[in-house]
Homo-oligomer: 282 residues x 2
Amino acid sequence: MKIISNIKDMQTRCLAARAAGQTIAFVPTMGFLHEGHLSLLREGRERGDLLALSIFVNPTQFGHGEDLDRYPRNFERDESLARECGVDLIFYPNAEAIYPADYATYVTVEGPLTTTLEGTCRPTHFRGVTTVVAKLFVIVQPHVALFGRKDFQQLAVIRRMTLDLNLPVEIVGMPIVRETDGLAMSSRNVYLAENERKQALALIDTLGLSVQMVRDGERNVSKVLESARQRLHVEPDLTIDYVKICHAQTLAEVETVDQESVMLLAVSVGKTRLIDNGSILC
Amino acid sequence: MKIISNIKDMQTRCLAARAAGQTIAFVPTMGFLHEGHLSLLREGRERGDLLALSIFVNPTQFGHGEDLDRYPRNFERDESLARECGVDLIFYPNAEAIYPADYATYVTVEGPLTTTLEGTCRPTHFRGVTTVVAKLFVIVQPHVALFGRKDFQQLAVIRRMTLDLNLPVEIVGMPIVRETDGLAMSSRNVYLAENERKQALALIDTLGLSVQMVRDGERNVSKVLESARQRLHVEPDLTIDYVKICHAQTLAEVETVDQESVMLLAVSVGKTRLIDNGSILC
């Protein structure tokens, strides 16, 4: 396993691998790897001759007052986990190389895909995501890139960007990996105090309860959402950013639940922001 | 010479050429080729094993009320000129393929490089240019791409975008090719009536006069520009969009002429918009 910080070195290495006929699988991350990331790496190991992992806490996707400075980092632990998953190349650039002083170029997906849900609470978030992912795709030159479905909207935005820019990359969305009690794996879970950790289970509980309502015959989105909000409001330290039921591809809000409907939730528990989602008619 | 309209076909062909170790030289154009374009193709022929030309009148770089609909086109003539220059592949997509109905992604260079000069008169122009050039680079996968220096600001913007997005493409800026009387070659020159064609020579005349002033010792930009405007105002059907002297890389306006100074002009002669530029201290 090789660790490469220099952009040109990484790109040269990846272009050479491509020219040699190797298939490149790529998992872009912000590090502090958990089982969710590892599931992507294991799938990537199956799909690529060369497996590349990037670790980069991308400043442009954090808003003012968000947790850029305290975002958890542990490169040595990540390195050892990557080695266990059979990673060939870790790309580990610094922010000054990715965004030099006179940096000026942004890749933006416009319209409802980026202005709803996370885009409402975090107006510059997706601009940061699409810019860095476009750059990483150009540097790493992957044939296939793997993303977790926990960031459901991010996955939709990246699919749109990849298609629109004609990037020759297959985008694979992988299932959410959860703790045994159902909390979706997230690097941010370490922020949670014990009492908050318990309240965070309201997310998976709400998803389960909503699925059950639909299974019992309810198709009216307003009624499902009302019940979801009631469940979330039980937790004293939990505030709702949004709870919505949307079309899985367009992310447009729907009025009636169908096969394509996904429930998306964003809440804060204490100071920690958490998201989750799931199909609502399974 | 092969003509390819399908995006996937073009990309597959170019990726295969790259994998086979071929160097790809690329000249993106809006067609209606003139000697300026041909000089790029001849240089491209020297630099690439495979020479690709794209012909695409890009709607996103035209503003409301600009000349998208009447922009001159002549594919058969372009095809025969391309053949004479040794082009291997013409990429000739249609607008619906490049921008499908649900298209949403734009590449933008932010800041002074795109808000001054052409950016003032044409606020969405460079967004259209950088978006289509990024897409074309991803489709054609060139090692080297050639642009004319007549679109001086465009060249600076594309250099910035290429660097920022880490695109592994060498950007080559080629000298302006002029008619024997000095008018810069442009597909739009066909719009000019005979009387306008004569007045359009004020551009090269103004550039020559300004260079002479500087050669005679004048370094004060205001004085050079005042004299330039006076010369342009002589023409009854010519209106000035801008005449500026800027730093060649940053395009920031300067107060004193030095080695890095470029004069940039944009005027309308009748209904035809023309631009030109030149180093002012040679």
